[in-house]
């Protein structure tokens, strides 16, 4: 079973709940990120994204220098623990329409799982499966194993296809690159 422990990034961009929306924009720009985990009393309390700033500050006509991050962040925060199955996190993302889930151990923020990273992992597996299936082709004595691999591959592709529809554009973009690479590899090995 794949767990969160192997798939989270350890550096997380954070901001204090009392900082302003303008501070948040500055921090996102400086760190080239689209979201910040909002910290209150040493624990993660919410998450604020560039889209939140657009919808709740810029569109609303609020003064960014006088609006607290706590007033525009998304809460309650969905979090995962390092021991959680990765599947559970993907379900959380899908159920709440989110792409990043902070990882908390003993009430302390230790990292974040990004959908992009999970997708990269799925693509890697797809690639392994495709490679496995290719190697097995023609080995008659191992045909059963080949069929199994091909079935797995087909199922995973179908799953990936249906999941793609629900993903955010960043994640899709990343998956596009992964799939493209995979397609190239499959093609080059055919020749």
């Amino acid at each position: 079973m794949m767990t969160v422990a192997e798939h989270y990034q350890k550096g997380v961009a954070t901001i204090l709940a009392g900082a302003t929306a303008r501070d948040a924009a500055d921090a996102m720009k400086a760190r080239s990120v689209g979201s910040l985990v909002v910290m209150r009393d040493g624990a993660p309390a919410g998450i604020v994204t560039d889209r939140d700033l657009l919808e709740r500050v810029v569109a609303d006509g609020k003064d960014a220098g006088a609006t607290a991050v706590a007033d525009v962040m998304s809460e309650p925060l969905q979090v995962a623990s390092p021991a959680d199955p990765l599947e559970r996190v993907v379900e959380l993302m899908s159920a709440h329409g989110i792409r990043r889930v902070p990882v908390v151990a003993n009430r302390e923020l230790v990292g974040i799982v990004a959908l992009d990273d999970v997708l990269a992992k799925v693509s890697e597996e797809l690639s392994d499966l495709a490679e496995g299936a290719r190697r097995e082709v023609g080995g008659a004595q191992r045909a059963a194993r080949t069929r199994e691999l091909a079935r797995d591959l087909g199922e995973r592709l179908r799953e990936a296809g249906s999941q793609i529809e629900q993903l955010g554009s960043d994640a899709k973009h990343s998956l596009l690159r992964e799939l493209d690479g995979l397609r190239e590899r499959i093609r080059s090995r055919k020749g």
Binding site: A21, R22, A25, D26, M28, K29, G34, D50, R51, L53, L54, E55, V57, V58, A59, G61, A64, G65, A130, A133, R134, V137, G138, A140, Q141, A143, A144, T146, R147, A150, L153, G154, L157, R158, A160, G161, I164, E165, S169, K172, H173, L175, L176, L179, D180, L182, R183, I186
Partner: protein, 148 residues
């Protein structure tokens, strides 16, 4: 397939003289991620949700006072509608853009194609490959078993 047959039509647009705040409201209310900025009937740039935030708040500008054409990404990378989808993929990759406005031979806006749309195509192709691979596969063992 020509990209003009595949792109989303029409593309969401905004006039260059509207404010960043007006653009932000459009994106929020219509659930959009970007708007093509149009001036005198021609696409001249594009603004994304992130642009609207970063290019005003980080520069201490008032979103209610800044015009969209002041912060739009220019020059706009576009593709002609009769070019192929593969050309669109290449253009998106070469220019590191996520959204590509599609224009006619006179430069008028026809629609827009995104990396997301092209991903759906790529995924479809991959599934096709998987089906093809399966059909070609266990010829040896399959025939052998049938013969027994």
């Amino acid at each position: 397939m020509p990209v003009g047959d595949y792109c989303e039509k029409p593309a969401a647009t905004i006039l260059g003289n509207e404010t960043v705040r007006a653009a932000a409201r459009r994106l929020r209310d219509e659930g959009l991620g970007s708007l093509v900025v149009v001036s005198e009937g021609r696409p001249i740039g594009i603004v994304t949700d992130r642009d609207l935030v970063m290019k005003t708040l980080c520069s201490r500008l008032d979103p209610g006072a800044v015009r969209v054409d002041e912060i739009a990404s220019r020059p706009l990378v576009t593709i002609e509608q009769d070019r192929s989808v593969e050309d669109a993929v290449r253009t998106i990759r070469d220019h590191a853009v996520r959204r590509l406005p599609v224009v006619d031979d006179k430069g008028a806006l026809v629609g827009i194609v995104s990396a997301d749309d092209l991903l759906a195509l790529a995924a479809g192709e991959l599934s096709g490959l998987a089906v093809a691979a399966r059909a070609q596969r266990p010829s040896g063992s399959g025939c052998g078993r049938q013969a027994q």
